[in-house]
């Protein structure tokens, strides 16, 4: 197991992501942060805090459950069974700039599912993808708009983002 980001570096990476989003998106547009369950949810909440402070306006956040949109429901991969949980987005997404937040971008399949799930909720003005870790190994033509740490971890490895709220500690590891 190798630690690739410690808690301080995670914080710095998020701050950097927020900075790039702010440089990129005009303040007058309606921005919201939506995280993919479950680590993306925490990151979206943190990012919305950063963006709210720097934009000096409220950037709301929400949580998206993508289970029903996964492409492996009829051919389950591995041992983990996908569990349906709730989507909690307390605002209208029509005409918003959505910062879609996830912990790791790898094959691109989750991002595809997340986009389909979002489009069933309304018609956003744009969806921008922000990820803490960008890992090589895309299977779909999807790229992040704002990528934090980049890694070329080999296919057999597991890249795991651990966060205080969900895991009791804060680090990104490769095992």
């Amino acid at each position: 197991m190798k630690v690739i980001l410690n808690s301080e570096q995670i914080e710095r990476t998020l701050k950097d992501l927020a900075g790039r989003i702010i440089a990129d998106i005009p303040n007058e547009l309606d921005i919201v942060a939506i995280g993919v369950r479950s680590r993306g949810e925490i990151l979206a909440q943190r990012l919305s805090g950063q963006l709210s402070r720097q934009f000096r306006k409220k950037v709301p956040y929400g949580t998206l459950d993508i289970t029903l949109y996964r492409d492996d429901l009829n051919s389950p991969q591995g041992n983990a069974q996908p569990k349906v949980r709730t989507t909690e987005i307390g605002f209208d997404i029509d005409d918003k700039i959505i910062i879609l937040v996830d912990d790791v971008l790898y094959t691109g399949r989750s991002a595809r599912a997340a986009m389909d799930a979002l489009i069933d909720l309304g018609r956003p003005k744009a969806i921008k993808l922000a990820v803490l870790v960008d890992r090589i190994g895309r299977e779909f033509p999807i790229q992040a708009d704002y990528a934090g740490y980049k890694t070329d971890a080999e296919p057999g490895k597991l890249v795991q983002v651990l966060l205080l709220e969900s895991d009791g500690k804060e680090e990104v590891v490769i095992e």
């Binding site: 479950s38 949810e41 925490i42 909440q45 459950d65 289970t67 029903l68 949109y69 429901l73 009829n74 051919s75 389950p76 041992n79 983990a80 069974q81 996908p82 569990k83 349906v84 949980r85 709730t86 989507t87 389909d116 799930a117 489009i119 069933d120 909720l121 309304g122 709220e165 969900s166 895991d167 009791g168």
Partner: protein, 320 residues
């Protein structure tokens, strides 16, 4: 925001839902938790999600039904499945085709899930042993009506938070009620205390062997319970004269405004529908502030979506 750490890995692996008696409390809780994720689909702009895209669900109803049949049909539609409606009257069953032949013929067309209601107890089980498709029991004889039991506990849990420690009365024609049985299994497994209330003539033969209390007086029970589920008097099933008159029945076992005065102020009033207004309960009670009868119907949709989703998941695992 609370995120629970993954506890031990529970895995749903059933491809049929035949009854609640055979389910563990963990499995029941898993269905309820899953249903929570489906509630929101019905409230958003596109009331559809894709998990059963390309799957075919057959609604095989050998008995009349509006609520359950439509609820299953809508649930299947919202999950993007295709649905075939099959009714006894308009099918070859009226020409004498057996249940298994009918099902096998439908299966030969490539169906994935059969939702069956039948007057014979055990019909869903028989079907599940003889066909490859998933089977969901939508009511069999006097045995079980599992999705009704699930939506009842879902409704209670949503409002009360938990079933643990609640006292629940199920009132009326217990003997002929599959709802009472499914409710009993679900409620007791989740930690509630269940009391069957009704005249001795409408109690099941061996009620003392079931995990419930029995009372013949609604007045004695009404003030103690947190939830009261009023069953429909099923005139179509009653043989003989189980009670002298409808008026006498409603005098002793009807939920009246007067009787409600003795109940806890936050009691939940439930009914599986369709209501015989003025018989099991007065209209003022059915439409009153304690009534969750329409919530039951709304929640039923989410629960049935969850059940269809999960049996399909179970099939994906077992057929792998």
């Amino acid at each position: 925001m609370a995120i629970k750490r993954k506890s031990k890995q529970f895995k749903w692996n059933r491809k049929h839902l035949l009854g609640l008696r055979e389910l563990s409390s963990e499995e029941i809780t898993y269905i309820l938790d899953t249903a929570k994720g489906f509630e929101q689909i019905s409230t958003r702009s596109v009331k559809k999600a894709p998990p059963l895209r390309g799957k075919v669900v057959v609604n095989m109803f050998f008995e009349d039904s509006t609520r359950t049949r439509n609820s299953f049909a809508l649930a299947a539609n919202r999950l993007s499945a295709d649905i075939i409606e099959f009714t006894k009257k308009a099918s070859s069953v009226s020409k004498g085709e057996t249940l298994l032949d009918t099902a096998r013929n439908l299966e030969a067309m490539g169906i994935d899930i059969v939702v069956i209601r039948h007057s014979a107890g055990g019909a869903p089980k028989l079907l599940s042993r003889n066909i490859n498709a998933c089977v969901v029991n939508a009511g069999d004889g006097f045995c079980e009506h599992p999705t009704q039991g699930l939506l009842d506990v879902y409704t209670i849990r949503k409002i009360k938070g938990t079933l643990e420690g609640l006292k629940i009365a199920i009132v009326g024609d217990i003997a002929h009620s599959r709802v009472a049985r499914s409710d009993m299994w679900a409620m007791t497994k989740l930690g509630a205390e269940v009391i069957f209330v009704g005249p001795p003539t409408l109690m099941p033969g061996r009620a003392s062997e079931l995990p419930v209390g029995v009372s013949y007086s609604l007045d004695e029970v009404i003030e103690k319970v947190d939830v009261i589920n009023m069953l429909r008097i099923q005139f179509e099933r009653l043989g003989g004269n189980p009670f002298p008159s409808v008026r006498e029945y409603s005098h002793y076992f009807g939920l009246t405004v007067e009787r409600m005065k003795k109940a806890k102020p936050d009691i939940l009033v439930m009914h599986p529908g369709p209501i015989n207004r003025g018989l099991e309960m007065e209209s003022e009670v059915a439409d009153g502030r304690n009534s969750v009868i329409l919530d039951q119907v709304t929640n039923g949709l989410a629960v049935r979506m969850a059940v269809l989703f999960l049996v399909n998941q179970g099939a994906a695992i077992t057929n792998r």
